[in-house]
């Protein structure tokens, strides 16, 4: 565990040395503040559109940070050949995978906390503060969703040679899941025969990342999520994260490092 945490610390330091987070945060803040300064029909009471745009930017930024950071971890170590001295130490490959995952996940969590803090602050300054409880739930669910995405990207980094290919595929898969996965059962229901069954199978096999998206509840000021469902969602994310990490460890264990 100590060795894992050492690896984790390296990844976190890497994130705050790189400019990705700063650029995305400044962009999000600029767009949000610019939108906040716009008056529609001389009315200052409109805040929901601002919440919607800010949350969308937060989701995009967090996804970019998570995928790009996770996708380059192991390939960068291999490319710079630092993987050899790393594995020469008493560190197992499983610990490397776990350390990398924890590092990226925690670093993404820190970035996400800053983003959500900004979101809540803007709401407060606009005179329409969001529910802090629901804000916390939104942050936590988002972070749990990112755990699945990060583990998926780490698995992808062992399957695909180039981080760019991995990142692109991860973006496509995550966006596809967010937009369509929740509706696959409806589509499967309207398709008879084998295709319908296959689609239903896919529906149950895919990680339903859209479950973790409570932006509509935040935007439209609905009550917080029931704690039971909140806990089940956390468990659901943990199961998929574990599955992806086990697959990544299994692949990494078998993978020759010389190529």
């Amino acid at each position: 565990m100590k060795r894992c945490m050492a690896l984790t610390g390296v990844v976190i330091r890497e994130l705050y040395r790189r400019k990705d987070f700063y650029v995305l945060f400044v962009l999000t803040a600029l767009i949000t503040l610019l939108l906040a300064s716009i008056q529609f029909f001389e009315d200052l009471r409109m805040v929901r559109y601002l919440r919607e745009v800010t949350l969308l930017l937060i989701w995009i930024s967090a996804l970019v940070i998570a995928v790009v950071t996770a996708a380059r971890q192991i390939p960068a170590e291999r490319e710079s050949r630092t993987i050899f001295p790393l594995l020469a130490k008493p560190v197992s490959r499983g610990e490397v995978v776990m350390g990398k995952f924890l590092g990226v996940w925690l670093a993404t969590g820190l970035a996400l906390a800053v983003f959500y803090g900004f979101y809540l602050l803007v709401g407060t300054f606009q005179g329409a503060p969001s529910s802090w409880l629901l804000g916390f739930q939104a942050f936590w669910l988002h972070w749990m969703m990112l755990a699945v995405v990060v583990s998926m990207a780490i698995l992808g980094s062992l399957l695909f040679s180039a981080p760019s290919v991995n990142s692109t595929l991860c973006f496509i898969v995550v966006t596809g899941i967010l937009l369509l996965a929740g509706h696959l059962n409806i589509i499967a229901g309207s398709m008879p025969g084998l295709w319908g069954a296959l689609l239903y199978g896919l529906y149950f096999a895919l990680p339903h990342l859209e479950l973790f998206d409570v932006r509509d509840l935040l935007i439209h000021e609905h009550p917080p999520v029931a704690w039971g469902a909140f806990a089940v969602a956390g468990l659901y994310a943990a199961v998929y994260t574990t599955l992806f990490l086990i697959a990544a460890w299994w692949l990494f264990r078998k993978k020759p490092l010389s190529t």
Binding site: E42, F204, I219, V225, A233
Partner: protein
């Protein structure tokens, strides 16, 4: 000596750079002046675009206009809204064919452009019964904890303004979508009490759509209902009728609604002003196009026989809200 030669070199070099720069600038300005008028032919509509969106997206921006119009409706329902998949399933379950007018009228009714004053939402029943239906599986059941499943409306007289940014974006994206202007004017004028803003929106719509009888009709309604300016309302409704007659040669199920609303509003105004003859004339005309002529006939008969009529309330907004025989909504 070395310093002097270096200075001379810098001077010569500086002059050369300056002259080269000036030449390049002159060439650039000349090229720009030569290219600019020619570029209008290959840039098409974008050359005359007025806004950033129009310049960036060209006419393609109209594709997104309806999305933002629907977004306003989503906001009105506080996020409780069927996805395209839910709509398709509903259509399948209820055997509804793919009728685009159905959706459009639903949107219009929801966002308040039901101009006959019917604030009742046509598709309320289907919403209330729940488009979600029973959960289909455990993922669906779990997922409902994280999405909007309560049907609430923005209706406190303040929060309705939340829909307006999306209507404004829709206007920018497609300036020729008349429904967006009339809907925005409805919410601004009648629900939020911003009559000047409502009129500004309609005027803006009229500039982009000078042949829109709907916008003229709404401007007339605004003039009468909010400003009590009967003369201006008359002019606007006359103009609306002229446009209507120019556009449509005969009355059909689609265009009848607008004409009927024009006539009803006019008749109602004349009646309120005590111009009984004029009111009878417009009610009689309405009788010819109304889907429920018998109700209109009763009103005409009541006026003709000089039955004592209670004056209509000053803020009577629509047909059927005043005293006397109630008229069906058009």
């Amino acid at each position: 000596m070395v310093a002097i030669s270096q200075k001379a070199f810098i001077d010569v070099n500086g002059r050369t750079i300056f002259l080269t720069g000036a030449t390049l600038l002159t060439v650039a300005v000349s090229l720009a002046a030569w290219l600019e008028p020619r570029s209008e032919t290959w840039r098409g509509g974008r050359a005359r675009a007025e806004g950033l969106l129009a310049t960036l997206l060209g006419d393609g921006r109209r594709l997104f206009a309806n999305h933002f119009f629907v977004k306003a409706d989503v906001y009105l329902h506080s996020g409780y809204y069927p996805s395209i998949f839910d709509q398709a399933r509903q259509a399948c379950d209820h055997g509804i064919g793919s009728n685009p007018e159905h959706t459009e009228s639903e949107i219009a009714a929801d966002t308040g452009s039901c101009k006959s004053g019917c604030e009742h939402h046509d598709h309320e029943a289907s919403h209330e019964s729940g488009f979600l239906g029973p959960p289909r599986d455990w993922i669906d059941r779990l997922g409902r904890h994280f999405r909007v499943t309560q049907h609430t409306h923005l209706e406190d007289g303040v929060s309705e303004s939340e829909i307006l940014p999306w209507l404004r974006v829709a206007m920018e994206l497609d300036p020729h979508q008349v429904e967006v202007y009339t809907t925005a004017a409805y919410w601004l004028g009648r629900r939020l009490g911003k009559v000047n803003q409502a009129e500004a929106v309609l005027r803006r719509g009229l500039r982009s759509n000078p042949d829109s009888e709907e916008i003229l009709l709404e401007l007339g309604r605004l003039a009468w209902e909010h400003r009590r300016d009967a003369e201006r309302a008359r002019h606007l409704w006359n103009a609306a009728e002229r446009v209507w007659q120019r556009k449509y040669l005969s009355v059909n199920a689609t265009n009848r609604v607008t004409l009927a609303r024009m006539l009803a509003l006019r008749a109602q105004m004349e009646e309120t002003l005590g111009h009984t003859e004029e009111a009878i004339r417009y009610w009689s005309r309405l009788q010819e196009v109304s889907p429920h002529p018998e109700a209109v006939a009763r009103r005409v008969a009541a006026l003709r026989s000089h039955l004592p009529q209670t004056p209509w309330p000053a803020d009577a907004k629509s047909i059927g809200q005043g005293p006397g025989p109630s008229l069906p909504s058009l």
